[in-house]
């Protein structure tokens, strides 16, 4: 009788001690944060309503690419050219000049399309190639999802998440003054994870030009988990650098870029997700143009003079965006998302726009898309964006697509979509030129009035001009370019055979193409016809076939082949759009793991004859071979990789963009260390 209470007390005492320190039953029921929410999940390519190519980290490594733009050579239909060593042009299906503005380019879903010229300055990307998790490319219009300017294609560069406890270092050194370094680190634990990366890339560009460049960059992102359903992600990035421009004469160009992003996400247990995002970006570009131009003079009236031209040419741009998106949970056969975006761009450049103030370019858009799985064999998509830009037209960009599974692993996709490309501030407002220099104005003022009155034409008119040189003079009033695209594609996904492939036929009809055409402007030196204006004038039909295959025939080996055949027909023969797309392009990437921790990869790239718009020379077909040999080893217990990379291994001299820009072999060593 007296034993029981003692036993109970002992039991209780033990129970309380265990309560404090023991393993709780809670692991089985403990609330956990929703990590793989809708926005973090990648949609499988076979289910996408458009032609998608994904470049993953393994492919980035095997390609031997040193800079992001080089990767697009692997994507069917893409051509990468260089106006000079640090100004690449990445284009899809032609119709491109040095400022490719018919492609939308984003980093983590935020547009880095230039607020001034459109297009992307690839040199300014504030990320290292090792910061990239994967790149998603939509080959074809994607206006329905991302609105303006996802016109011919869309590129989304997705950067690596912060997972903590990773540090890496990459060094490149080689020919042509190649000197790059990058250090990255991810840390934090529990509710706060962060990742920081910083580095520099430099090279000397083409032999024929003084176009060396150096860019320094950093990016930092942090994820703060507020509770199991809410997360805040912030990121800051900056890049700055200098490069030499060698066009008519050599001059330095400096730039600075800042990006900031803040996103608040809330997920529900049912898998729905809602996020709000704020973005701010700032860009500052200066080009010091000082040169002497020779003014021939007027016999007996005005002596010939060497005039100093001082164009401290500065461009500033800011972008502010607010975006909200709601993605509904996907438990049923219907998945949908919707949202809106407000964007305010402002650009200022007295040199480009003959206006000391800020020019504003605002846009708002609403978007929604839905995916409905009718049955195991049929998936339907519908989506649209309605946008209201201040330059160009308001309009709806819809898309419908159907994906039918013919047999397991074999599907057929059919899609039709519409997209638009809005005019850029440069196309709408540019007044790029310079006035008669002071020295000349004073000289003209010194001429006696009777002499002036007695001047014969054309000198009489010329001498009254205040404009000395006009590069471009936009008449404005531009409408958006429009495209209606249709495609049909067969996709195979056969894991048993280790084969993935796609064969696609597309037909796009483009209207309202903004044509850059020469105009005559009266200047001091005469009626010159080397100014440019922009008008919506042209149409084009683009048709072709694209194919790609990915095959892993044996362990450690992989073959990736992409090829296209494209044709552009346009009634506007003077524009010669047909020549802007190579009739054929092809790329092959072979990868093989070798014994003793070696790996080799080889690339082959073929681009048919083509010409870049706005002054590019007709270029013959070009072929190029790349080779990469890598060895991984342990250094101080951590993983290191040393690789030797050669681009254009056989040193084929082919012209790039202009006849005189000859590409040649580049080779460098890369050391990567990760722990």
């Amino acid at each position: 009788m007296s034993k029981k209470p003692v036993l109970l007390l002992v039991a209780l005492a033990t129970a309380r001690i265990t309560f404090a320190a023991g393993a709780p039953a809670e692991p089985f029921f403990d609330e956990l944060p929703v990590v793989l929410s809708a926005s973090r999940l990648v949609q499988p390519i076979a289910d996408a309503p458009a032609a998608v190519t994904v470049i993953d980290r393994e492919t980035i490594r095997a390609s031997g690419a040193r800079q992001v733009q080089e990767l697009f050579r692997l994507v069917p239909g893409f051509v990468v050219g260089y106006r000079d060593g640090h100004e690449p042009s990445v284009s899809y299906q032609g119709l491109a000049d040095g400022y490719v503005r018919r492609l939308q380019v984003m980093i983590d879903g935020v547009s880095i399309y230039s607020p001034v010229y459109g297009g992307v300055d690839w040199r300014e990307l504030p990320i290292a190639i090792d910061d990239i998790e994967r790149i998603e490319i939509v080959r074809g219009p994607n206006g329905a999802s991302f609105g303006a300017n996802a016109f011919l294609a869309m590129i989304n560069i997705i950067t690596r998440e912060a997972v903590g406890h990773e540090t890496g270092l990459t060094l490149n050194a080689g020919s042509d003054g190649i000197a790059d370094w990058n250090v990255r680190h991810s840390g934090g634990s529990g509710n706060l994870l962060y990742r920081i990366s910083a580095g520099q890339r430099a090279d000397n560009g083409f032999d024929a030009l003084s176009d060396n460049s150096r860019t320094g960059f950093m990016n930092l992102r942090a994820n703060l988990r507020l509770d199991s359903a809410e997360e805040v992600a912030a990121s800051v990035a900056a890049s700055s650098g200098s490069g030499q421009i060698d066009e008519n004469f050599v001059r330095p160009q400096n730039f600075e870029n800042y990006h900031g992003n803040l996103r608040w996400t809330r997920t529900t247990e049912a898998g729905s997700e809602f996020w709000l995002q704020l973005h701010h970006a700032q860009r500052h570009l200066t080009e010091d143009e000082h040169y002497l131009t020779r003014m021939p003079g007027i016999p007996g009236v005005l002596p010939a003079m060497n005039l100093p031209v001082d164009m401290a040419y500065k461009v500033e741009a800011t972008r502010d965006e607010f975006e909200a998106q709601w993605t509904a949970g996907s438990t049923s056969a219907l998945r949908w998302l919707g949202g809106g975006q407000l964007r305010q761009d402002a650009v200022r450049s007295p040199g480009l726009f003959d206006n000391p103030g800020w020019l504003r370019n605002n846009l708002w858009r609403l978007f929604a898309s839905a995916e409905y799985r009718v049955s195991e064999r049929l998936l339907l998509h519908a989506g649209a964006t309605y946008e209201h830009p201040s330059l160009g037209d308001s309009g709806l960009s819809p898309r419908v697509a159907a994906i039918a599974t013919l047999a397991p692993g074999h599907s057929l996709r059919f899609s039709v979509s519409r997209a638009q490309r809005n005019p850029t501030p440069y196309e709408e407002f540019t007044q790029h030129g310079y006035a008669v220099p002071d020295a000349l104005r004073e000289a003209v003022a010194a001429i006696p009035p009777q002499t002036l009155a007695a001047l014969p034409e054309p000198y009489k008119t010329m001498i009254q001009q205040t404009v000395y040189r006009q590069f471009a003079l936009a008449s404005g009033g531009l409408a958006s370019e429009k495209v209606v695209a249709a495609d049909i594609a067969y996709q195979a996904h056969l894991p048993a055979l280790h084969v993935d492939g796609e064969l696609r036929y597309f037909h796009n009809r483009i209207t309202g193409l903004i044509y850059t055409f020469p105009i005559s402007v009266p200047t001091f030196t005469g009626l010159k016809n080397d100014s440019w204006d922009f008008r919506n004038r042209d149409d084009a039909h683009v048709q072709g076939i694209e194919g790609n295959v990915n095959w892993s025939p044996w362990t450690g080996g992989q073959v990736t082949v992409a090829a296209t055949h494209t044709r552009i027909r346009s009634s506007n023969l003077d524009a010669n759009y047909a020549a802007t797309v190579p009739n054929r392009t092809a790329s092959v990437l072979l990868r093989q793991q070798l014994p003793a921790d070696f790996a080799v990869s080889a690339g082959y790239y073929f681009v048919g004859p083509m010409r870049w718009l706005s002054g590019g020379d007709p270029l013959p077909a070009s072929e190029r071979f790349d080779l990469r040999l890598a060895h991984t080893f342990l250094w101080d217990g951590h993983r290191a990789e040393l690789s030797a990379i050669a681009q254009n291994l056989t040193d084929r001299h082919y012209p790039d963009f202009f006849e005189y820009l000859i590409a040649r072999r580049l080779a460098w060593l890369q050391l990567k260390y990760e722990y």
Binding site: P5, L7, L8, L9, A11, L12, T14, A15, R16, T18, F19, G22, A23, P24, A25, E26, P27, F28, F29, D30, E31, L32, P33, V34, V35, L36, A38, R40, L41, V42, Q43, P44, D47, E133, E161, V163, G164, H165, E166, S189, G190, N191, L193, N223, R225, S228, E269, G271, S330, T331, P408, H493, Y675
Partner: protein, 298 residues
């Protein structure tokens, strides 16, 4: 006089035991946690449906006194602290909501007419699930923290019996999870997440799921929250299923039949995160089909 008293006592005893058999009183002793409260509520409803009377006590300072006052025919203990507190009561006791880790750390003294239902699913069920869900994935990775390190050999052997190779890496701190995964994932095709508080907790789940997702490796996990977080498949017993097993075990004990000292969960749910599975390019059988086949394999 004494003889009459003895007969009376005997009659009373018979009557008492007869009434106990007819409408037993169950004392539910539970830990002070939300899930224990949830199961206690479910049990309460089930008991009244069966016509049994029940009372609920929460582990705390007053438990000993309350237990002395309660005269039940049987006890249900929900949570490890409750199981320990009711261990030597001498009445039929069914314990539940207890983890294998807790029992290994603080072994329970033997007790008659006592059974404990663990939360951990039996190893054979895990290996059967991996086999059924992933026909062509034989390499199964496992991160073993201190809790699981003792069991690695047993796990390897049991998995081998089903033709699967378990590749285990030990983890001794939260910081080493990502580097360990970077080493482990290239050698595996599926990652098995078994309960181990050092490895799987609110702080580590994000880096773990992001790293495995990046590598294209599906995670097979042990709870419903983990499924919502991003595991591809989860195998778990819901509070309802646990309470079903508790009631069955109680009936078994009250009927005088013996019960195993420790039981595995009898009823379970297989959940599939379709969004994650689709994104990883996996075609998995439907939830219902997986569940049926796993039940059949048991």
């Amino acid at each position: 006089m004494l003889q009459r008293l003895i007969w009376l006592t005997l009659l009373l005893a018979i009557w008492a035991s007869a009434s106990a058999g007819a409408a037993p009183r169950i004392v539910v002793v539970r830990d002070d946690t939300p899930v224990a409260r949830q199961v206690a509520d479910m049990l309460g409803r089930e008991f009244s449906r069966l016509g049994w009377s029940s009372g609920e006590l929460v582990v705390g300072d007053r438990l000993a006194a309350d237990l002395r006052r309660e005269e039940g025919a049987a006890t249900v203990a929900l949570g490890f602290a409750a199981v320990q507190a009711t261990r030597q009561l001498g009445r039929p006791t069914v314990g539940a909501l207890v983890t294998r880790a807790a029992m290994e750390e603080s072994p329970l003294p033997p007790a008659e007419r006592s059974t404990v239902i663990m939360l951990d699913q039996p190893v054979e069920r895990w290996s059967a699930l991996v086999r059924l869900a992933f026909a062509d994935r034989f390499l199964v990775g496992l991160l073993a923290g201190p809790t699981l390190q003792r069991s690695i050999r047993t796990l390897e052997r049991k998995f081998q019996e089903r033709g699967l190779i378990l590749v285990a890496e030990t983890v001794n701190s939260g910081e080493s999870i990502v580097p360990t995964l970077d080493r482990l994932l290239p050698r595996t095709r599926v990652l098995l997440a078994l309960p181990d508080p050092l490895v799987h907790n609110r702080g580590t789940v994000q880096p773990l799921l992001l790293t495995t997702y990046r590598a294209g490796i599906p995670v097979v996990a042990y709870s419903e929250p983990y499924l919502n977080a991003g595991a591809t498949i989860s195998l778990y017993s819901t509070p309802k299923q646990v309470s079903e097993q508790i009631v069955e075990s109680l009936q078994q004990l009250l009927d005088g039949h013996p019960a195993a000292a420790v039981q595995s969960p009898r009823y379970f749910t297989v959940g599939v995160n379709r969004a994650v599975a689709r994104s990883l390019g996996l075609s998995l059988p439907s939830d219902g089909e997986l569940q049926e086949r796993l039940q059949a394999a048991d």
